[in-house]
Symmetry: C2
Amino acid sequence: MLETEYCSLSPKNIYMKTILSLLQKTRVASSQMAQLSDKKRSELIHAIAEALEENSSTILAANKKDYDAMADTDPKKDRLLLTSERIRGIVSDVHTVADLPDPTGNILLERTLENGIQLQKISVPLGVVGVIYESRPNVTVDVSALALRSGNAAVLRGGSDAVHSNEAIVSIIHRVLERYGLPVDIVQLLPTDRKFVKELLQAEKYVDIIIPRGSQKLIQFVRENSVIPTIETGAGVCHTFVEKSADLQKATNIVVNAKTQRPSVCNALDTVLVSTEIAKKFLPLILPDFEKFEVEIFADKRSHEILKTTGYPHLQQAKEEDFGREFLSQKCSVKIVDSFEEALQHIEKYSSRHSEAIVSEDKELCEQFLTRVDAASVFANASTRFSDGGVYGLGAEIGISTQKLHARGPFALEKLTTEKWILRGDGQVRE
Amino acid sequence: MLETEYCSLSPKNIYMKTILSLLQKTRVASSQMAQLSDKKRSELIHAIAEALEENSSTILAANKKDYDAMADTDPKKDRLLLTSERIRGIVSDVHTVADLPDPTGNILLERTLENGIQLQKISVPLGVVGVIYESRPNVTVDVSALALRSGNAAVLRGGSDAVHSNEAIVSIIHRVLERYGLPVDIVQLLPTDRKFVKELLQAEKYVDIIIPRGSQKLIQFVRENSVIPTIETGAGVCHTFVEKSADLQKATNIVVNAKTQRPSVCNALDTVLVSTEIAKKFLPLILPDFEKFEVEIFADKRSHEILKTTGYPHLQQAKEEDFGREFLSQKCSVKIVDSFEEALQHIEKYSSRHSEAIVSEDKELCEQFLTRVDAASVFANASTRFSDGGVYGLGAEIGISTQKLHARGPFALEKLTTEKWILRGDGQVRE
């Protein structure tokens, strides 16, 4: 990241020593956003989708600048790239967000107190949502749409790699906000100078929540430096336990799907645990499909002995660090366990508490697993790949939260709200 | 705080260089607590209440040691003191917590996905709840009861001032846990050595939530040093806006009650805002009661001119710092505002977003106030003193949260839970 890069949207910023004035403007503007009706918010977001579509050539030209500036060897290059087709996908997602039900104004609790006061707890916008992300310009659009849909303002700190793309996108959003008579500060793209990240993380007066999206290093940095409450969308170290009573055909399908269908995502399988009793019978069943995808297996001592007899070509002996490891590629570790309790202990020790599965025909054991395993999503006889806000019917998600406060599991629109207690009285005082 | 004080419960600890092993034990023990049925948890807590009552003389003797060791001039001395009557109050509160409805196991969402998977979102215990507090030994009991009621384990870091009291209380709780065949590590009293606080705040692997209870300084320290998600139970800078259409009798009752009934608490009034049109008529009405309680008034220029003509004895000119100040005593500031918008701007600038009130007979203006003011609790025509979990019908509260994530306003039993997504399938895989 360059140390001297500034957001060209506001030329004044070139002389700016602090971003606090920008954040303050967003805080002030956020109250106008919070007061917009559901219908107006939905209209506004449809209008943004249309404007992005109409101006896609501008976005593509800006993106080309970013793309050309990035080294061809940079693994982030594909994530940075926008194409006409990708923009069409983004635009369609924005229309979908516009049509999601309003998460604000829900009455969460309602009662009349003994003294006659009418008490309500309702869902209201958080206020200002801050997002720190890396080179994906689609995040700029996704987060803006979700924040505005829920009546929030957004503070965006994208990567310097994507600065031209992000500026082009935010300029288009700003023109739509202006057309609706709203302050452009409702969507604030921050300069990418690194020192401003720390400043943002200390600005608890102006920003209500920080969501880091990106590498573990970024998340760790935010966790350690933020005084603003943070939602962590962390790594997924996901286990599937094939228990001795499992239907082996189901188990094969589930393990193969969880590992190979999209290995680069957080809900993909990392470790297969298998009961001793069925290991010899089960392990060979997954090999034909694993071989198609060239899945590299890191096997513990006992499973290695079974697997080496099959001549499977991508087999290694597991080291300790291959358990609790998020592979994000066509690799997995395998371990044989002697009991249900041993499987649970292994998961307790190595899980990142994201998504955990059991395959078993023993209903009672399945229920024990679902109750006792501490993870955001727990599965019986299904692939961990289903761990997803869209699949759960929540609409677009910002990420999968692996922490326990406020949001756990898919972090979607409804979690961009907070609660407010409203009391309507007629002169009541406390005795 | 002494630098070399250790918890005498575990003599081995004298040689302990780190508290991580204690926290790990609590993490392991927490799963046994999470599996206890509602009925067993309720029984356990009633048993704790009974044991505290039976052993009250032991607690009183330990408390006397702490009390005698504290300087007579220490303002914390009264908060430290336990008496037979106070213990009876604490015991009664514990019985009440035991009878609260179980906050875990609630089905928050339930649907069948198109592929036939049964999806549920349910409330489950957080796991390990950490509390850092100062000299009130009753917190040891309250927090233990609330944590256990919701299926959590508790890590307690009390002040060194109350070490004997806390040890006596926790020993009694431990004996009850043992009687129920549960590990004593479910309630872990940490040594009071200061360096362990930082260690606790970094132990995200073992502790799921940190709740600081005490001074602003303590809360600030926790916010800056914790990598564990924190619930802030912050200060209350509370305004009451007496709008020009107000019923002046209601307004007088509400302002006097909000200021004088219990000034030391966070929901007490700090600043009165009053419309220009009614200031001359309204301000003299509050003076007779204010004089009874010797309320010191810090008045802005215009209200000072009105008030000085009354000869009110406890009148001063307000300085800038008297607005946005939490008095916690029989003091308040007064300001005259020219419009509804000016009142809202003042509150936006100075409020700590805890509890804010309007007194007005204009229904529409009341609704605008309730919608636009950003605070945990907002009131129309009622005293801010009602801002309380007990009043809201939530049972015992741990504090009033002034932040927006997870819990806002009264932080009670239901917020000691997190969510878990459970998926029951029959071999489904993702396309």
